[in-house]
């Protein structure tokens, strides 16, 4: 979808979809809030402000075009996320003999 597709008959057809991320307060990550349509990034940020932060929900916004996000294949998720399985030793709870030792 290129910008030249944006129609000139008052339709918003072709306006790209943007994903909106909101940082709710300093020290926290930006978290996905939702999406919206806008003709460009600047308008996307303005619209995101009106749409997703009407009640002090955020101190910072990110917008990114939805089509620029690459998603891992949901059908392949078993293969994709299999490797940690059977690797309990990556978790502190695996180590039981030292239980009761202080500050460990």
């Amino acid at each position: 979808m290129t910008m030249s597709n944006t129609s000139n008959n008052g339709s918003s057809a072709g306006w790209p979809l943007w994903e909106v991320f909101v940082r709710s307060s300093r020290g926290l990550s930006h978290v996905h809030a939702g999406s919206l349509h806008a003709p460009d990034a600047e308008m996307a940020v303005r619209n995101a402000r009106d749409l997703y932060t009407r009640r002090n929900e955020g101190v910072s916004l990110w917008v990114v075009r939805s089509e620029d996000i690459l998603t891992s294949d949901p059908d392949a998720k078993d293969a994709m996320f299999e490797s940690p399985k059977g690797k309990d030793y990556r978790h502190a709870t695996y180590y039981t003999k030292s239980e009761g030792v202080k500050h460990l």
Binding site: M3, S4, S12, L17, S35, L36, P39, L51, R54, T71
Partner: protein, 329 residues
């Protein structure tokens, strides 16, 4: 829940191996009461049914702005005007959350807009009733938003992830809507005789239409069963309705007003609230376009869309220009 294996409703068709595997994964996710996400395989019937439900919901939020927007210029104080503007703006936001969630199912925004404006799509029948007096702003907030909340809270757990997440956001915002409405009525109820009468009159007119917002009895609601099997709907229409009646039956006492329902009572035996018979012929007539304000609401929606065309054009033109500048630089 054995009937969930038929949740596609399309088992008569021959399934490809991918579809069969997809259906199995889908059934397992529903069985665990987990969430379906946009890129997951889902039965066509599930996609279609959710697209319809979510877009109707979005349209209702958008059309729902009108009865209250009608009173913004005539609000009795600056405070009330600010509150009303904030509420109407919230409803616009609710419509937009729901439209973008619906789009994740594969129908784009312009198609959804077009379905509303061409009159092919339905929206909640309640918004086809006129808002005649200032007290109606109170009755709408208390009863209409109240009924909407009762409907929407269980939808926060709908099996389709984007729908549930939109509903969580919406429900958080709705609670102020109901309270501001209740307080409008409370103020009027404690005002002059005429104000009190106006408040009672608004309740009298909105009571039955608000109860009908939960939809026809489930026995007459063919989609209910399937929707429950898919974990979209969690409670029956009648159950939600009687629970809502129970809540407002208590709340109305605080107002010192009454609900226009001589049959209203709590049935100890069944633990259910009993209310009067509702006029479903009227409901069907209003939904099909025969309500007092249907044509006015649609005309206003189209007009707003057309009058906003130049803004969208300007934004597109600006974006194009900026992009061209960037390419040259």
């Amino acid at each position: 829940m054995a009937e969930q294996t038929t949740s596609g409703g399309h088992l008569s068709a021959v399934l490809s191996p991918e579809d069969e595997a997809g259906q199995q994964r889908f059934d397992a996710i529903i069985e665990q009461d987990s969430r379906i996400e946009p890129r997951d395989w889902m039965p066509e019937a599930y996609r279609k049914s959710l697209t319809r439900q979510m877009s109707q919901h979005a349209h209702s939020e958008i059309i729902g702005m009108q009865p209250e927007a009608n009173w913004i210029t005539r609000a009795p104080s600056l405070k009330r005007k600010s509150i009303l503007i904030a509420k109407v703006q919230d409803e616009a936001g609710h419509g937009l959350y729901l439209y973008s969630s619906t789009e994740t199912l594969g129908t784009d925004r312009d198609t959804l807009n077009d379905q509303l404006m061409s009159g092919r799509a339905k929206y909640s029948s309640i918004f086809n009733y006129p808002a005649r007096t200032w007290a109606d702003m109170g009755a709408i907030g208390w009863l209409v938003d109240g009924a909407a909340i009762a409907n929407q809270v269980p939808l926060c757990r709908a099996s389709y992830g984007p729908y549930g997440r939109a509903m969580v956001r919406i429900c958080k915002e709705e609670s102020f809507h109901q309270r501001q409405g209740f307080e409008i009525l409370l103020e009027l109820a404690n005002g002059t005789e005429a104000q009190k009468k106006m408040a009672q009159d608004a309740i009298d007119r909105f009571y039955a239409p608000a109860l009908m917002m939960f939809g026809p009895s489930d026995n007459d609601s063919p989609n209910s069963k399937q929707s429950m099997a898919w974990n979209v709907k969690r409670f029956s229409n009648d159950d939600l309705r009687q629970r809502f009646v129970g809540m407002i039956a208590e709340q109305v006492k605080v107002l010192g007003l009454t609900l226009p329902d001589p049959e209203l009572r709590y049935d100890e035996e069944t633990g259910q609230w009993i209310h009067m018979e509702l006029d479903w012929d009227e409901f069907n007539r209003v939904i099909k376009g025969g309500g007092p304000c249907n044509s006015q609401r649609m005309a206003r929606r189209r007009e707003a869309h057309e009058e906003g065309a130049w803004v969208r054009e300007a934004a597109s033109a600006y974006a194009r220009k900026q992009q061209m500048k960037e390419q040259v630089a």
